[in-house]
Point group: D2
Chain length 381, copies 4
């Protein structure tokens, strides 16, 4: 096992104007564990070639589509051909593409929401397990050192028994489209055919859900959701508050919005226990606040010797040197590479396919609850 | 009309160990509009006299109880006898005491929750109206300059049409009692006989509700609440999340907790509109953040010339000089004094009896919703 | 000794448009230890009477000037006549007025800078000592609970041996006048005849100096100052940086400005020791940050049981309830009242006349250093 | 001109335990403009080979030293052989290595401080100019979008004529060594033979100086410095405050420390002008605060359409997605690549060799000033 070997990586999606494409390329590079070899970035092969050249890749490995890529790569030598596929396409393509990649024996990194339905996610989980392939869901926020510190401290009992969860993901970027019908047409996330049954909860609510389960180690068992499509001529939710109840009875609330005008990327998680609390906000990702019942609050920062191992291994720089979203994603890539190499403990350092399944179950339960007039819905385990 | 005349004030409740007593005395003094003349601070008349002496009051005006006070004061000369009574006793005494005060022709300042039931509040509203007396509910947060700036900016359309409300009031002080049965017995707010039907929502949730209505100028029409008593042997709510819907269909959420361990007095309000948003947090009361759709966020602070008049009149100091809770309460006292003197516009500068009625309706609807298994309940107008 | 007796207080200065007058009235009232009885608020006796009436005072005790006030009050009964005089006039009047008050047997509260020269301050110190009278200098920032917590923690060795001091006081309010000659004429602080030899350092630099000495318990022994009058036609400093050296050799820096455009009232103090550091900023006065060498930083807030006694006695409210400038000043008033009553330990709770002497020595050394071309100047002990 | 061509890059220094090595590799990768090809990472060739393998490089291109690398690379084909050398070794090796690289026709990226003396820096400047080679000094902080926004806004006159500069760089990491003689021996930055004449000012003070000149566009003309070696047995400065004066007479202050215990990487810059001010702190790098004379303060964040072009081109992500130190460095790498390709305007996007010369002049003037007992020293233009 050579854990520092660069694993050949391919992309589907992530063309020149794709923001998420840049994040995944940056994460792969920063991880120093993957080497991007090629991709089917878009549907125009000549633009794909130009993109490959701009990225310093062999333009022969810019493909017209996934099938062509899988076929061509399979003919390359081991060590050269791609072993991992990152799926960055619109949501409706995740399921068929991940399925094809797994069938071709690849490991997969997939953007969220994982699929269009929970049953698709379960099907992919079965396929991955049967084929011995690994899947990483791009819940990037779990890659921040202070989110990992939070998980480790909760697991170690630092705040006692949990008694309250408060998760938030507020953005304002869809607001303008809500007030401009023409702009509304141009946003694929508002189109059920490409986005699936949810916009806000599929895009960002599911991140907040994942963060709640990752940091607490608890399972959300029931939800009661109040979603808002905001406009009569808008099909998908752009805002919604969800009441949460864990299997062990802890109350919680999850707030997500894409019409929180002026909010940039307001991800927050607060967890309260019998002895204290932990709070993290994405706007200041290097700060983890630890409220204590009978002592001054503490502020944890990345890069400190006294941090938990799960946080220490997520920091590449000394304290006080900011690391951002790409570094958080790179931590997922590192964990995923380690898992592929069989390094013990790696599974805690990236969101696996189970996170994808959980996310889809959450989205479905949320939509069902809201549609039923805000009633409690179970999330199957 | 001499608006600077010091109005004689009496207290019921607010003994030597009462925190809220100190806040009301400070507010009255800071307002420079009232003069504390006497009170029935507790039930022990000799201790009441000692307290009066410690406060520099005439010990003859320390009374054994409200009835004695009202009788004795009525025999004093006009200008000397109390004209306003501040009611600072436990909740179950608010209704009978406010009623007696109104019957005696006094104006009343009353702590929240106003009464035990909405019907009591309505009864007092009728009595006050019939007798031409004024009532101020101690929703202190509406006295902060930046909360008033928020109200003024929303009213002026600065953030466009409203589309989302998010109110919070998180404290941790009851947490220790939840984990210590003996301590639990000692807290009157957990005793239904004195506290009424709610602990968390009666004590603090109602503040967040008032803040939402005061800043937005909207009416919350429906609620769906998920309250938590946390312990089987605890009768009253200590935590709860409530979904909100305004009469005009705006979605919102209100989160309140007394078991948010480590939180001190975390009052927050955020309101999102079609063109921007306004956010305020009690931990940094001198900051009002204005998010804008297409421009850098702005930060308003008290004492600036360019602030709205409603905020300017709530600041007694130049920018950068902190003012706190007592100053916020003093702004209510000033507004109330002005209202008594008939100054136009004064009604916007203190929460009137209608706020008391609204609050009780909200508490009742919230409790009913939660009891019914988290279903929507109307708040009558 | 009746420590809760309200001590009769008189004001000189502090008329209807005076900001500092309002702060002192508020502090006296909040302290619940003083009762304002009268004053020579300005030079127009009929306006003084109107002001007295507006404040609920006996208009007979509004005087045309200090001499008249001292004479008239001396004829009143003990317990009724003023025992303490608060001197709130422009700087050049401090020395003669404090002198007259001491000669009349009064205790004195005086605004800063204490006098026009250090020798005047020394003379007053001698007079006060000889007459057994007490003097409080209005260094309000030492009244904030978290400043007191900082002093107590440093004294207790919490950050080890001190090795670096960084004090700041940045304001922007004089900037406009620097760019508008007419406005410049209207500001008495820029007039040497009324302001004395310094504007910026007399008004605010001396606060930062006092804060450095109060929190550290060290004496600044030498300074090297670089002051700036900014305009050729402006006589007094409006900005300046000063290098500090304590008697024991600790390096430090003090930065003060009134042309830090846009700054409101940016007072900050940071002290670094061998084991940690403490930092406080007036913009968030309820936060004291404790940096530690090998542990997460801690955040202290007022009102907590575990705070030092010096901080606990400066908080009248539970954690999370903001207290502001007037409350800080009230803490000085309480300490001063206790000192008058002979309560042990009271001297640590207000800046005594020695602080006034130290401040004048600092201002003189600073001006001399800057005038000599930025060379080191000693501050006599 | 193919501006997206990946420029072959070599490293000298930056071995497996080097933090700065990781930052430069990350920056090169994130820039998508360079491709790391090889290096002389340390002095042990077999460890260098292992490091190359771990980085996915051809181990043949891991060299025993710079001379060997330059010789071997020169024999490779154009397009394959390195064109740019990043010099990451201890300070004393910068001059000879940069000289050799320039002589070999390479462009150079060099860590700061650029050299041991200003005359060395001038010599390299002459060589680079004569040879038509470009040099980038790793003043990483100028790569943050909000630092660039600050420069652009000042240049555009947004805060008017400048009147005050306040720069800070506070760290605490050397504190422990100051209190532990054995640890002191192990830190090369404290060894004059390797570090040069300065520790604190060579390592971090020079960053603050560069930031002051980059953001303001002004030249610091004179300094008066008060440096502190803290221990009699410690040769180099670990702390120091410097008074600044620009050529046009603006006053300023620069504070740097490595014994500010508990500070992580506290870089700050504040610039005050006649109409407003701009403030930036590295702890929250995505926030630029704009204080305005007569309007609410504004907060700029990266990724917004309305930002200045110099800032927009430094953001690769939408608003609210944190970017860190490596991304800032990558912005320097991008600017440097563009400059090599001759893209107009590129020179504003990385600190050129002139910044290296200015930095050395500043360090020398600072040391001379402090040594002479804190007197003013000129910085030659």
């Amino acid at each position: 096992m050579n854990v520092s070997r660069r694993i050949p990586l391919g992309l589907v999606g992530g063309g020149p104007r794709s923001l998420i494409g840049g994040v995944h390329r940056a994460a792969a590079a920063l991880s120093e564990r993957f080497e991007l070899k090629g991709g089917a970035f878009g549907t125009d092969v000549s633009r794909n070639r130009a993109h490959a050249r701009a990225l310093g890749l062999d333009p022969e490995r810019a493909y017209a589509g996934l099938d062509e890529m899988l076929a061509a790569e399979s003919r390359l030598a081991e060590g050269e051909r791609i072993e991992v596929l990152a799926v960055l396409t619109p949501n409706h393509l995740h399921y068929p593409m991940v399925l094809r990649a797994l069938e071709s024996g690849l490991h997969v990194i997939c953007e969220k929401p994982f699929t269009m339905t929970a049953s698709e996610a379960l099907e992919l989980e079965r396929r991955a397990r049967d084929g011995g392939r690994k899947v990483c869901i791009a819940h990037t926020y779990t890659g921040y050192p202070m989110v990992r510190q939070m998980r480790a401290m909760i697991a170690a009992g630092e705040i006692g028994a949990l008694q309250k969860i408060d998760a938030q993901y507020y953005q304002g970027w869809i607001n303008a489209a809500m007030h401009d019908a023409a702009m509304r047409q141009s946003i694929w996330r508002l189109d059920p055919a490409r986005s699936g049954p949810s916009c806000c909860y599929g895009d960002i609510g599911v991140h907040a859900f994942n963060l709640a389960e990752y940091t607490t180690g608890l399972r959300i068992a029931r939800v009661l959701a109040d979603l808002d499509t905001f406009r009569p001529d808008n099909a998908l939710d752009v805002d919604g508050t969800t009441l949460l109840r864990t299997a062990c009875g802890v109350h919680g609330v999850l707030r997500a919005s894409q019409i929180a005008t002026g909010e940039e990327n307001g991800v927050q998680i607060a967890v309260y226990g019998s002895r204290g609390a932990l709070k993290w906000s994405h706007e200041t990702p290097a700060i983890l606040t630890h409220l204590r019942e009978d002592a001054p609050r503490q502020v944890f920062t990345p890069g400190q010797r006294f941090n938990a191992e799960l946080a220490r291994t997520a920091s590449q720089l000394p304290p006080g040197h900011p690391q951002g979203l790409a570094e958080a994603m790179a931590n997922l890539y590192r964990g995923f590479a380690d898992a592929i190499h069989g390094v013990p403990g790696a599974e805690e350092r990236f969101p696996g396919i189970e996170a994808g399944v959980r996310g889809m179950r959450f989205i479905e339960a949320t939509l069902a609850s809201s549609r039923a007039g805000q009633t409690w819905m179970e999330i199957s385990a």
